[in-house]
Symmetry: C2
Subunit: 320 residues, 2 copies
Amino acid sequence: MISLPPLRALQAFEAFGRLGSVTAAANALGVSVGAVSQQLRKAEDAAGIALLERSGRNVVLTTRGRKYHDRIAAGFDQFRSAQGWIERLNTESVLTLSCLPSLASKWLGSRLLDWQEQNPSAVVRLIGEDAEPSLDGDQVDFRLSYGRKETEFDHWAKLFTDWVVPACSADFLSRHPVKSPQDILDCQLLSIEWSGDQGKASDWATWARSVGLDRTQPSGLVAFSLSSAAIDAAINGRGFVLAQLSMAGDDILSGRLVTPFDLRLRLAESYFLAWDPAVLEKPLGAELRKWLFGLGRHQDQMVARLKLARTGATLAAGRP
Amino acid sequence: MISLPPLRALQAFEAFGRLGSVTAAANALGVSVGAVSQQLRKAEDAAGIALLERSGRNVVLTTRGRKYHDRIAAGFDQFRSAQGWIERLNTESVLTLSCLPSLASKWLGSRLLDWQEQNPSAVVRLIGEDAEPSLDGDQVDFRLSYGRKETEFDHWAKLFTDWVVPACSADFLSRHPVKSPQDILDCQLLSIEWSGDQGKASDWATWARSVGLDRTQPSGLVAFSLSSAAIDAAINGRGFVLAQLSMAGDDILSGRLVTPFDLRLRLAESYFLAWDPAVLEKPLGAELRKWLFGLGRHQDQMVARLKLARTGATLAAGRP
DNA sequence: TTTCTAGTTTAGAAAATCTAAATCAAGAGA
DNA sequence: TCTCTTGATTTAGATTTTCTAAACTAGAAA
């Protein structure tokens, strides 16, 4: 193995070559001139050839010394670049969350704004995307997703479990005053296309079966690829949506959506939060993770306390 | 200015990342495991982020640690490359001489072979070229040239002063038995085209003037671009050449060329030897320089002792 | 000439690095 | 389960390196 010369001597040599004088190098390195002088001699001894030409009171690189210096300096440039990278990591701390698009817009977005207000020093980026990103790069710190995808991550935990319930706008309900769950199935139904393995557990047919009804022939059915779009359509009086309590919770509590029957269907899987362990070192990284899990617990509790009725939804008193 | 982390710590970190274990790194660096362990901790402290993941008895790089390591390792690779370059300089020592082509073939070549025989460990390269090379690279160690070109070099000294004298083959002389210097000018003259500023001091017209003759109308004149080619042509009985004593000395002493009159013309300039100061550090570099200057002195002495006559040339006894 | 500047050299102080031994943690084998 | 082995960490103190301060040298400038 090639054994390297004393590194401190190389450093003195690099500084000297870059700055052109022993005095300047000493200042740059924060040591005395004598120290640099000694290290330069050591560098020459280690190299075995004359690197410097001393003519009385000033010192210059020899031709070969210059060449050697070029190579050594390239090495130190690498070090400085590495150092710059590290320092950037330590100072500019953007926290990046990746989240399923509908959940991002209908649930996480507004809540995350609250957190950022309480932590003004934090810079948060929220990305809505279906594909699971890699948490190994420095691109994404957190991923909030659903189902079995958790296997793709090293560090994750369950966030909350969601439910669906049929909901429509108050206006639509007054025009279609459904008397029984069966009547819902005869209205305009807004359907959501779940992608891939998110399971087809929460479509209208499954819901119907779960409440003891049979729905073989669909009435006019409009399909949305985004839950959020389907919910918005329902708010606009376009029909019944099988709304997730997470995404539609705010709309239901505020009366923009009403739920004639409290017939909920639990989703087969849960939402989970995965994270890059490195984020815990970032400023506010650990705090954000804690807050997100608090948000998940809060969501589960909210669902448990939610009373749904044709006249409006209310929250029962819960544990503080 | 970006201040670098402790270099020794970086070195330990680099070795660890490259070899995958603290023990291996310690062996590679030739220190104890404990020392490496301490340096690794120092590297982490300096970086400010977790570089290593310790799970009981084994340690691995974190994702960020790997990235940091890649950059640091690139720096050390530079160092190793620089070290390899230095070591190559110190071990493989080829001595390279650049010389005017004719002087190389007719004078230096055979003499240099003698020196190499006496110094079998030396590897010598002789390059014949007209253009002055740079001695700043590591390509050429010595340059042997003529005239004012010495100004292009930092380190040089006069080598010897040359003279020209008319010479032809014994055969040619018997066919053209010249009685006086004037008769020479009526024979076939072999001329040499000196390039650029080497001076036109040594052409036939100059020689004629120097011996009190006038040569306005040239007889049939053949011009060579290489002195060596002109001399060879004279040896082959093609005419008179204005031969330099350095290049034709051997031929004159051996009788391949004869000189009817000892009417010499001193060249306006001298030959000089320039060198790269770095060569003095190479094995045998200083010796070769000393020998070359000895050769120059020897040449001047030889010229002083040389007796030229129609019947043949002899060397007067000189200082030993 | 003296003075100033830039670098070198030295001895001893300060800091860093290292070693050796004790300790810890986890997996292997009885 | 307990013990053994392996690989890493931690400590105290020894060793080595590096540094400083001050004396010194050499060339340039006043």
